[in-house]
Amino acid sequence: MTERPTPTPAPVPEDRTYAVGELTRVEGEGSLHLVVRGGEIVEARLGIFEAPRYFEALVVDRTPDEVIDIVARICGICPVAYQMSAVHAFEDLFGVAIDPSVRALRRLLYCGEWIESHALHIWLLHAPDFLGYPSAIAMAADHRERVEAALRAKKAGNDLLRLLGGRPIHPVSVRVGGWSRAPRRSELLALRPALADGLAIAQETTRFVASLPMPAFAREPRLVSLRHPDEYPFNHGRIVSSDGIDIPMADWRSIFEEHQVEGSNALHARTLDGKGAYLLGPAARVTLTGGTLHPLAREALDQSGFAELIRTNIYASIVARGVELIHAYAEALDLIDAYVPPSVPLAAWEPRAGVAAWATEAPRGLLFHRYVVDDRGRIREAQIVPPTSQNQAAIEADLVVAAREVLALPHAEATHRLEQMIRSYDPCISCATHFLDLTIDRA
């Protein structure tokens, strides 16, 4: 593990507004606004202009199973996360007892999504930053074998999603009570060789990304994730933090809240205690619940030498993501070996009026859903809090720190460094942060 030498910062003028960016669109541009007062950066704002789609209104009057189909469409990269938070919320409210194999299959489905999402992020979105390429496609010219291996490894995750859900993006088989179709044991065993190959690629990937030069960075964020005594958190656990929060997941609103910020179409989340920003995702999970990692993932984390650094250097999240990638393959293999088809793939259920609230761990962090349900099982009100909106405040806090490091750098390099930092969160606006447009307005 090496850190790039920090350049000697140039003297920063006492008072100046660095209007960084002109980002207008998530798919095209983001925006970054820096304010310097007394030589210190006091404000850094990331704008998100993803066109609003009003999902919380669209699900009103819908049935729980319709909601599972609809909320998947919030994100094509992590649809399973949306389906999992919703289905568990409804089953909890309706008191549906699910078959143990149904529970295991849902963990397996999440393994597939973590593999697909983490492999995509590590290799196609993030590694090109470290290796100096605009894309994995360009990287393939010099690193063909690595890119081919990455695509093969990602495919193993997508094939798992396809078997369980019919298709990798917006799978169709997750229903309240279980599955509309449960796989045969032979179908799962057929995926074993590709997943074992993926595991080996993930182990090599984690060693490789841990050898990359990490830009210097240090901020100790407040970390939040689910934690479960017996398993790495996907669908069950309590919400915990690095400073002592420990609550049932349904009580998210007792600690956190959403608020709207001008210049962003994503609602921000913050804690009610006034401490503000908190960080979700691989670095938080590996730090808060590393004891429940699969032994192979734990071994890779210990050997990487990054167990401490991933807590304070956001650029090193790529290593945490590699560790979780190993976990997802290893657990998928274990689940397949232990698989017994459910005796009741789809349990019957009756609707009940009340509040359905649940959180699960999306690849990029805690995803909270809350639905007010009437006695016919129809949705009256919905709240969906994605991980990226919760991470926004942490991203901005880190931008303050990162900006201080990069102000002395040449313009293009400073821009690239800030983009790389934002991509470290694996935000659902990765596409936007690929072309953060850095302009400095000398007010």
């Binding site: 009003y54 919380e56 209104a57 009103v60 819908r62 994100c75 496609i137 360009a138 709207q260 009100e381």
Partner: protein, 288 residues
């Protein structure tokens, strides 16, 4: 700038409007075939995958997402002018997407239900398919698109032939694959008869009814299906209509059938009072 010599490889762009990224992700999910594709096409602009940018001109431009805000409405016209073949990918771009359910309702009420300070949000009253604003040369259906159909289209574009895309119904695909008919065997409402195929009849093969994410097929007899659902199976007309009010609701004849059965579900139809959650947030923001 276009060079005078013919380009060695078609120059391709991938653009996102209002969408979930799932259709453009299908390009990256071509997996081991992705690098073959990038050898045959020059990827000029694909922000989800590359920080190398270009404003075109494009031989082929893939558009994901519906047109749902003023900036997108301007942008699609500019992009069309720089593009030879404009291809819409997925239910949002071809039909307006799930977010087009707001087209039945009061957009201001929608916005107010989600955002405490709606004046900070720019959004059009309707979510529209791309073809409502500019001419479209080809479309791939689905929520999300099917990877094999994407490959077929790319192969056709690379060789200058017409793509061979599925024009039969999900019902026909389902029969061809020998799946058990969920409508006949279990009485499950299924849109397979009226929905364009191309997905491989995933939903019936996975034990549930088709929910129409590839949109209406040409000449779909939606009235006949609704009669079957109500007269034969005993569903309430409004319940039968809401089956159509999904990811391709705004496409005809689904749209008219939804109107005829009482409109989209309440959440999309009614002028919502500000949801308690948003009201609470607004009060808090006001207090700060």
């Amino acid at each position: 700038m276009a060079s005078s010599a013919a380009p060695a490889r078609p120059r391709v762009g991938v653009v996102k409007m209002a969408s979930c990224d799932g259709c453009q992700l299908t390009i990256l999910d071509l997996e081991e075939r992705l690098l073959d594709v990038t050898e045959r096409f020059e990827i000029l602009d694909f922000p989800e995958a590359s920080s190398a940018r270009s404003a075109g001109p494009f031989d082929v431009l893939f558009i994901e997402g519906s047109i749902s805000d003023p900036h997108q409405a301007e942008r699609i016209v500019e992009l069309r002018a720089r593009t030879r073949y404009l291809v819409t990918i997925g239910a949002c771009a071809t039909a307006g997407g799930i977010q087009a359910l707001r087209n039945w309702g009061d957009h201001a009420a929608f916005r107010d239900a989600v955002y405490a300070r709606p004046e900070w949000v720019a959004s059009l009253d309707r979510s529209l398919p791309v073809a409502d604003l500019v001419p479209v040369d080809a479309e791939l259906r689905g929520c999300p698109i099917d990877p094999d159909q994407l490959l077929e289209l790319l192969a056709a574009l690379a060789t200058g032939r017409r793509p061979q895309l599925c024009d039969e119904s999900v019902c026909q695909e389902c029969k061809r694959r020998g799946a058990v008919c969920v409508a006949v065997a279990k009485g499950v409402p299924c849109l397979g008869q009226v929905t364009q195929g191309g997905c491989g009849a995933i939903c019936p093969r996975y034990g549930r009814g088709c929910y129409g994410c590839f949109g209406p097929r040409e000449g779909a007899n939606v009235d006949g299906l609704l009669r079957h659902l109500t007269a034969d199976l005993g569903h309430d007309p409004a319940e039968a209509g809401r089956l159509l009010a999904g990811f391709t609701a705004w496409a005809q004849p689904f749209r008219s059938a939804i109107d005829a059965t009482g409109g989209a579900p309440e959440g999309s139809r009614r002028s919502l009072p500000m949801a308690p959650e948003a009201a609470r947030r607004a009060a808090q923001e006001g207090a700060r």
